[in-house]
Amino acid sequence: MELPPYATLGQKIWHYAFYAICGLIFLFLITPILIIAPLSFNAEPYFSFTEGMLSFEKEAFSTRWYNDILINGMADPEQPRSWALFWEWLWMALSPAHIAPQGFFTDMWENAQWVRAMKNSFFIGFFATLIATALGTLAAIGLSRAEMPYRGAIMSLLISPLIVPLVITAAGMFYFYSQVGLSQTYPGVILAHAALGTPFVIITVTATLVGFDKSLVRAGASMGAGPAKTFWKIQMPLILPGVVSGGLFAFITSFDEVVAVLFLAGPEHRTIPRQMYSGIREQISPTILAVATILVIISICLLVTMEMLRRRGERLRGIRS
């Protein structure tokens, strides 16, 4: 992309125009994601910048929408709260007796809508990821063996949850699961999310296995290690970055999924995206922006984790970029 010293004026203009165009496209990509953070500190219940915000007046900003995440839906949000009370509550809740004191934090944990949505999201995401990662890793190992029969057909079948329109998947699951009594239950949503997450695990683990040196397994076997031991001691540590990033993909798929939840979940299984969906449709308040900001921060953390995993994986397999 260096401009040669003999470039003509037209070439120079084109060169800088190209940079400008790319800059605008990057702006298009990133602005919407960054704009929600300042908007979420709006003191007024609007989705846009107020006069005060633009002139940086202190009163125009507030954290009331972040507070709203915690208290929305609580029976009595006026109860006293402090960090000391929080630690006390946490200590009591984590103690073997499980007797949480009555008070602000118990009320929040039990009743606040967003807190409940967060609990549901993590609960469903955890089990969906567990199923998807375990089954997907096994299948990827099988699929990358040269002697696997019907490899192409099975691979396209297993990847298909990624391709089939979500509405069709969700409608089919809704129709079938309601006949077998899985509709409006946690297992139903977990199964659906696990099925949607497996293609990601297969793709990432298969990609890691491409660079895997099979003679290492044979070397282990020749020294007397059984199949289980070679798997856990040799293969697993080497493909672990792929497995973890596949698991992260599966988790984020579940964490972000809303169509299957719309079809399969009852009101008590609402996840964060489901809560946002109804928030956008019904009463649009900056609380959604506050939640969105938190989710952006989470995805930045995930992005960093993925990048570190990728580098570690390449180092382990001896690939230099």
């Binding site: 989705f47 497996t198 972000d256």
Partner: protein, 422 residues
């Protein structure tokens, strides 16, 4: 050195230590390792079958098979199926009908049956519920009594609608999904131009997917080019700007676009501030087709950039240099040498974006307003609101067929193995 294990059998075949021919032994061992590989895949295969493939198959089956009438009206259903649809309805049909109506009212399934027949001929819902209420008191001759109660029973069209509803295995829903009507005599008629909602919707969906694909291509290609030609350090930094939207929740991005595009939103504020438009005539950029297009392009752009980028990275820079040293101008070198080499990436990205956007649901539902709704929204509507599951299944079946053809193309052109993430 003599080999103790590999001896020759009577017919000259190599034998293993236990006396079986080596060929058989090898085949056995190959089969065992094939079974082991298959055994590793089997749990997931069964899981995906049970939780994903079978549910979709079952749904698609309801698109051609609806037994609501046959199950709830057992006496009249076989008679209606046997009727030719053009001759005068018989007394036996009327008698069976009255008996079924009494039974269905008692079993409280009359509502289901009435709405099923109503889908074939509107207005028959009230005819059924009304007649069922009085059916218990009806006496022979039933046909005359029925007509006496409501003269719609004298209309042969009513009976034709019932015949269509009584046939469980029927192409009627697929016909309805492409705006045709399957008549009682077994013919297909196209609906009038103004009633062709589904075909219009399919075309609109394909048009939107194509528009999003091209928008992604025009925006994604320069960015991929820039990323592929910058020094690795700066490219990695800019890559974050592509990957962050990719990792951000779909709903977060949709929310962000609402904040950007709504009439009191950031973009309109900027337009007013610059003076492009007046405060009282802000652009309506959201809750219509424009909003759907902008938000979908933003959401799917990374899916276009990443495959093109990985193809561009693999093109040796010497090719363009060689073209230039042979006298090609910059634009010739680009269009004749560089661009053709990036076509696999364009194909991969374009197909992926098209496949994903053709089934898009959430974004159109949230920012599409009235005219930004796509075929997926209609399927969801029939699944959840109108409860016409058979029609939803037929629409879904057609959509699925389109997607599977594109998926097959993707596999042929790109190969599923080459699908990469991040």
């Amino acid at each position: 050195m003599t080999d103790a294990t590999a001896t020759h059998g009577p017919d000259g075949l190599l034998l293993a230590a236990d006396g079986t021919p080596l060929k058989t032994k090898l085949r056995e061992s190959m089969r065992a390792s094939r079974m082991r590989a298959f055994g590793l895949v089997l749990p997931l295969l069964l899981f995906v079958m049970a939780s994903f493939i079978i549910p979709i198959m079952m749904l698609l089956w309801t698109g051609v098979y609806n037994a609501t009438y046959a199950v709830n009206m057992p006496a009249s259903a076989p008679l209606m199926q046997a009727w030719d649809g053009s001759s005068e309805p018989t007394e036996a049909m009327a008698e069976a009908m009255v008996a079924d109506l009494i039974a269905a009212r008692k079993a409280k399934t009359i509502g289901k049956v009435a709405s099923r027949v109503n889908r074939e001929l509107s207005g028959t819902r009230s005819l059924f519920t009304k007649t069922a209420r009085r059916a218990a008191k009806m006496e022979a001759p039933f046909m005359a009594t029925l007509v006496d109660r409501d003269k719609d029973w004298a209309d042969v069209e009513t009976w034709r609608a019932i015949k269509t509803a009584a046939t469980s295995l029927t192409p009627a829903y697929y016909a309805a999904a492409v705006d045709a009507k399957y008549t009682a005599t077994g013919d297909f008629e196209m609906q009038g131009e103004e009633r062709q909602i589904h075909l219009k919707l399919f075309w609109k969906t394909i048009w939107v997917s194509g528009a999003v694909m091209f928008a992604c291509l025009f925006l994604g290609y320069p960015v991929a080019y820039l990323l592929a030609h910058l020094p690795a350090k700066r490219a990695n930094l800019l890559m974050i700007l592509v990957l962050l939207p990719f990792w951000t929740s779909l709903l977060v991005r949709t929310t962000a676009w609402i904040a950007m595009l709504q009439s009191q939103g950031v973009l309109n504020d900027i337009f007013v501030w610059i003076g492009i438009t007046g405060d009282d005539q802000r652009f309506s950029l959201i809750y219509n087709m424009t909003g759907t297009l902008i938000a979908m392009t933003h959401i799917l752009l990374p899916f276009m950039i990443l495959p093109i980028y990985s193809v561009m990275r693999a093109i040796p820079p010497s090719h363009v240099r060689a073209a230039k040293s042979l006298g090609a101008t910059n634009s010739t070198a680009f269009w004749r040498v560089y661009f053709p080499a990036t076509i696999p990436g364009i194909g991969a990205g374009g197909l992926l974006v098209f496949i994903l956007s053709i089934g898009y649901y959430i974004t159109p539902a949230l920012v599409g307003g009235q005219d930004g709704q796509l075929i997926s929204n209609f399927i969801a509507y029939h699944m959840q609101k109108s409860l016409n599951w058979s029609l939803a299944a037929a629409l879904g079946g057609i959509l699925l067929a389109i997607v599977l053809i594109l998926y097959w193309l993707y596999d042929r052109i790109v190969g599923i193995d080459n699908m990469k993430l991040g």
